[in-house]
Each structure stands twice: as C-alpha cells, then as structure tokens.
C-alpha cells in the first residue's frame, strides 16, 4: 500500500521546516509514533518535547503562537481530542491563536491498542468549535501537502492523521485549498461523499457499483469544516442520492455535516457509513478492523444501493 499517512505528514513537516523558520513543532513523548521525529532530528532547536501532557502542550503552543511562531502540536488524537479539548476550545479557538494540531493515530488506525486509543468522536468535537478548521486527508501524499497550506493559513487547524497506510488516492499534481472539496469521479446516479481513509474505499465502491451499472460520483471532503456546501448541494441536485463515509462515529462527523447541509437547503436521501455508536475492539490490522465495523467497501456499496432505492421510491 505504500507510505503511511503519518510518515507522509512527518516527512513533509521536516521538509517544510527548512523553508519556513517560523514553524516550531511540539510533541508529547510520541514523536517516534507521530513521526515528528524527522523534524526533531533536523531542527532540534525548534522541537519541543513537553512530556506526556497534551493540555500543557496545546497551551505552550498557544503561547508560541502569541509570540509569532507557527506551532504544530502533535500527539494521539484520542488524547488531543479528549484531554486537551478545553485548551483547544478556549485558547486556540476562542482566542483564535495560530496553532495547528497534528492529530495522529486517528480513527481506528491504532488497531492494536484498543478502544482507549481509538478516536472516533474527534471530528464531531472539533467541528462544533467556532473558528476551527477541520481537515482529514485521504492518503500520505495529501497529508504532506497540507503542511504548507495550513502553515500559511492564519488560524486554528485540526489536521487528522491516520497511523496507517490508507489506499493511495492522489498524485503529485494534487492542489489543495481549504474548504474546497474534490470531485474525484463523476457520476449521475448516486454520490459517495467521503473523507480520510474512506475516500480510497469509496472509489473502490464506485468501481464495484459501475460493474452493476450504477454510476456513482465520488467527492472527497477533506475539509469537514468549513464544508464545501456548493459541491455537496450540486451533487444532491444532480444525483439525488448520497452516502457519507468516514472512519469516525456515525454521530456528528462528516455524515452529520452533510446532513446539516442537505436538511437546510435540499433534503435528499442520505445514507451514513461510519462506526456505529459502540466501543470498537482490538484488531489484527487496520483494514480487518475497519471491515469488521461497517467501513468495508461492501458497506459503501450497500449504502449506495439503499440511497438509490430511497431516491427511486421518491
């Protein structure tokens, strides 16, 4: 499958660090896991290991941002998006400080460590905060390409990074803009709206649907907030049925965001693919775990057929 998303991010951070001397990187005794270690080796004077204290790391990053730096604060999503949420809400979002959260090991990607280490409510939490930008890359290449983009955007950002190697979706020509979704595949029967690791899986689902004569559009919504309403509403109008797919709880993530767009503008059949409202078990590898908890390519195919049936039932 190629490079893991965390490696794509970690290498890009080190490369970009050479170009932008204002970038500083913080971690919480997880740099060998988040792979901010690449940056730490090249720029030890701009790397700060705060120990196992996520709330403190966020606050220190906030202070550095007040002092004109561009801090990337890194750790495990399960801790950043739970233990450090008050720091993120008050000192990053309310105070609108220029901190970038590199939230690694997100979703179920830390498959071997169990429910304590999964993070399947972070998108819901982060997108409920005013001023926050929430970005979920689809693959390693995309994760790396976000580094300069978010560094050069002035404001708080939550970048959700998988530990795993997700299905590669993009090539070097990829150009990213915050808030601009990407139409990866055209189609007129149904639209698969996906984020993160589910983008590659949704493209595969579209191929399977094509074999059955169903023409599925695939949209990548990397920026869950602010969400690309126009792209989603155009798809609702042109295809009349949608699926939202994400490596996240079905409560409050991309599915919720898409539902909010549709319900307020153009009510359209929408089926959700995500983790049910349960604690997920430890697994043998990320893909097996995702398949077992409703995130298989076949789950996207089935959801597309349900959405299509609702559309046809009128």
């Amino acid at each position: 499958m190629g490079m893991s998303m965390r490696e794509g991010y970690g290498r890009a951070l080190a490369e970009y660090g050479a170009l932008n001397p204002d970038v500083v990187v913080l971690d919480v005794d997880t740099s060998a896991s988040t792979l901010t270690s690449f940056f730490a080796e090249r720029f030890p004077e701009r790397f700060f290991n705060i120990g196992i204290a996520e709330p403190c790391m966020v606050d220190v990053a906030v202070g550095m941002a007040l002092g004109g730096k561009i801090p990337f604060a890194n750790g495990f999503a399960a801790l950043l998006a739970l233990r450090a949420v008050e720091q993120i809400r008050t000192c990053m979002c309310y105070a609108r400080t220029n901190v970038k959260i590199g939230s690694s090991y997100a979703g179920l990607s830390d498959f071997k460590d169990g429910a304590t280490h999964y993070s399947i409510a972070d998108i819901a939490t982060m997108r409920a905060m005013p001023e926050m930008t929430v970005i979920v890359p689809a693959d390693a290449l995309e994760a790396g390409k976000w580094v300069p983009v978010i560094a050069e955007y002035d404001g708080p950002v939550y970048l959700r990074i998988s530990r795993a190697a997700t299905i590669p979706v993009h090539n070097e020509a990829l150009e990213l803009e915050i808030g601009q979704g990407i139409r990866l595949r055209d189609g007129s029967d149904v639209t698969l709206v996906a984020t993160g690791s589910m983008v590659g899986r949704s493209l595969r689902a579209a191929e399977q649907l094509a074999e059955e004569g169903i023409d599925a559009r695939v949209l990548e919504i990397h920026t869950v907030k602010p969400i690309d309403k126009d792209l989603i509403l155009a798809a609702a109008e042109e295809t009349g049925a949608l699926v939202a797919a994400e490596e996240h709880s079905i409560l409050g993530g991309l599915g919720g965001a898409v539902a909010e767009v549709l319900s307020g503008n153009r009510p359209t059949p929408l089926e959700l693919v995500g983790v049910a409202d349960v604690f997920v078990r430890t697994g043998p590898d990320p893909d097996t775990l995702m398949d077992a908890y409703g995130l298989a390519v076949g789950d996207v195919v089935a959801a597309a057929k349900r959405a299509l049936a609702r559309k046809e039932a009128g």
Binding site: G51, G63, L66, G68, A95
Partner: protein, 279 residues
C-alpha cells in the same frame, strides 16, 4: 535591599487605591463580577502596570512590550481598570461593562479589548501559555518579559504544574509567575477545600526560584519583581501572601465575596473605606 523612593511608593499606593475603587464600582454597576480576588491583587497590579511593565497604550501590539497574562481571569475588573487608567481604551468604556455591545467581556478577551494579552477565564492556562511566550521570545531574540498572575485555588489544577515543569525544563528566566495567595476560594478557605501548603516548596521542588512576600507591601512587591528580572537560568515564582477582599472590611477573608456584587449601600461603605484610607 533595593532602593525605591518614597514618592514612588506613595504614587503606587494611590494607584492601588484607585484600582480598588474602580473595581468595586464596576462590579456594582454591572451587578456581577469577582471583587474578592480583584481587591487582593491591587498592589501587584499597580506595581506591574504603573511601574514595572514596559507597555505603550498607544501601541497595544508594540512587539517589545512585556506580556502580562491574567491567568485568574475572574479578576478582570481590576485588569480593565488598569488598562483604562493607562489609556488603552477610554475610561468611559468601563461603565458599559456588561452591555452586549461593550468590548469588555465577563472574562478577558484578547481579541476584543486592547491591552489584554491573552484570553482567560478557565483557570490553569497562564503558566503554560506564558512558557510558550517566553520560549518564543528566546527563539525570536526578543527581550520582553512574561508575567503570569494566578490564584492559589487555581494551583489546585494539575495543568498549572504541567506548565511549571515546562518552564523549568527550558530554564525560562524571562517568565515570572505571581501567586495571589489569599487562602480563600469560592467555597471557603483554600486550606480546607484543598490545602496547598507547602505552596512555596511545591514551586521550589519544580526548580523555580521562589520569593515569598507580603503582596500588599509595595516595597516587597517591587523588590520581588526586580529580583525576578535579575534571576538567571530559571523562572521565578513570587508567592504573594494577600488578603482576599483587601481594603473593604466586610469583604476581607470572606469567601462569600468571591463572586458577587455589592449593593448600593455596600458600595457606599466600600467607597467610604477606600477613600478614608488615604485621608
């Protein structure tokens, strides 16, 4: 001992008295606020804002300015009074505190009020944020100093000590924390709710330089601030022993006055007492 002319002490005592008056009047007018912990830090605020801090009210974003973080954000009234008296915004603004249109929020908001360095209100953030600011100063080769004023009850939260350890690790001598040790918090005495003794030893154990002072004695406050500026290789904590509600007899040492506003009659008495002190 450092030398401070009597005229400076007299001037700052007058500033402290004015800040107390402003604070109780503001809280009364708004019908809410936190008088106890504002009155306890009046000398500290006077020494900082009218003597020690390098600030330019005409240029709130002056890059060289010293940074002050009111980590105990509920003492916002006295910060607003200090900033208003210095001319960061018109003094008339403080009369609008509490209205929907007023830039002065319940707790300090850096984006709305000129001179507020950092948004605060939820306790515990100041030392860690101050450490980040102090690190940024070092990286940017700037010589501003960072001051954090926090409460004794605030020190009950673990995040404070995470910041304390971080500041010690990086030997942030440009960071000074001042603890308003008045021994009274919302529900009662600190020593009953969750004892903080030995307070000074806690900071010492974390490799901070520690100075213990009477926080109402301006000579001691000034001396501690100057000693902190001259301490190298480690941050300094000034443990300021204070009286909550200082200067208004019925508020002194009363937990009740942590977060309520004085009535018309209570205000009149407070004003009388605060005015009499000078006469």
């Amino acid at each position: 001992m450092y030398y401070y002319p009597e005229s400076l002490i007299v001037e700052l005592e007058e500033r402290a008295r004015q800040l107390r008056l402003d604070s109780v009047e503001m809280i009364h007018r708004r019908g809410s606020g936190h008088p106890g912990g504002a009155l306890s830090v009046a000398e500290i605020m006077a020494a900082l804002f009218f003597h020690k801090l390098r600030l330019d009210p005409q240029q709130p974003d002056w890059p060289e300015r010293d940074r002050f973080i009111l980590s105990k954000g509920h003492a916002s009234a006295i910060l607003y009074a200090a900033l208003g008296r210095l001319g960061f915004f018109p003094m008339e603004d403080i009369k609008e505190w509490g209205s929907l249109e007023c830039h002065l929020q319940g707790h300090p908001d850096r984006l709305k009020t000129p001179g507020v360095e950092m948004t605060s209100g939820i306790l515990g953030h100041g030392v860690a944020i101050g450490a980040g600011l102090a690190l940024a100063a070092r990286m940017n080769d700037m010589n501003y100093r960072v001051y954090v004023l926090l409460g004794d009850g605030e020190c009950q939260g673990g995040i404070v000590w995470e910041g304390v350890m971080t500041a010690a690790k990086y030997r942030l001598s440009n960071l000074t924390a001042i603890v308003d040790y008045n021994d009274v918090q919302l529900d009662g005495p600190v020593h009953e709710i969750m004892p903080m003794e030995p307070m000074a030893d806690k900071w010492r154990a974390c490799n901070w330089e520690v100075l213990e002072i009477n926080g109402h004695d301006l000579r001691q406050v000034l001396e501690a601030l100057d000693m902190a500026s001259e301490t190298h290789h480690r941050p300094t904590a000034i443990i300021a022993h204070t009286t909550k509600g200082k200067g208004v007899s019925y508020m002194e040492n009363q937990a009740k006055w942590h977060g309520i506003a004085p009535s018309e009659g209570e205000l009149a008495q407070a004003v009388a007492e605060l005015t009499k002190e000078v006469a």
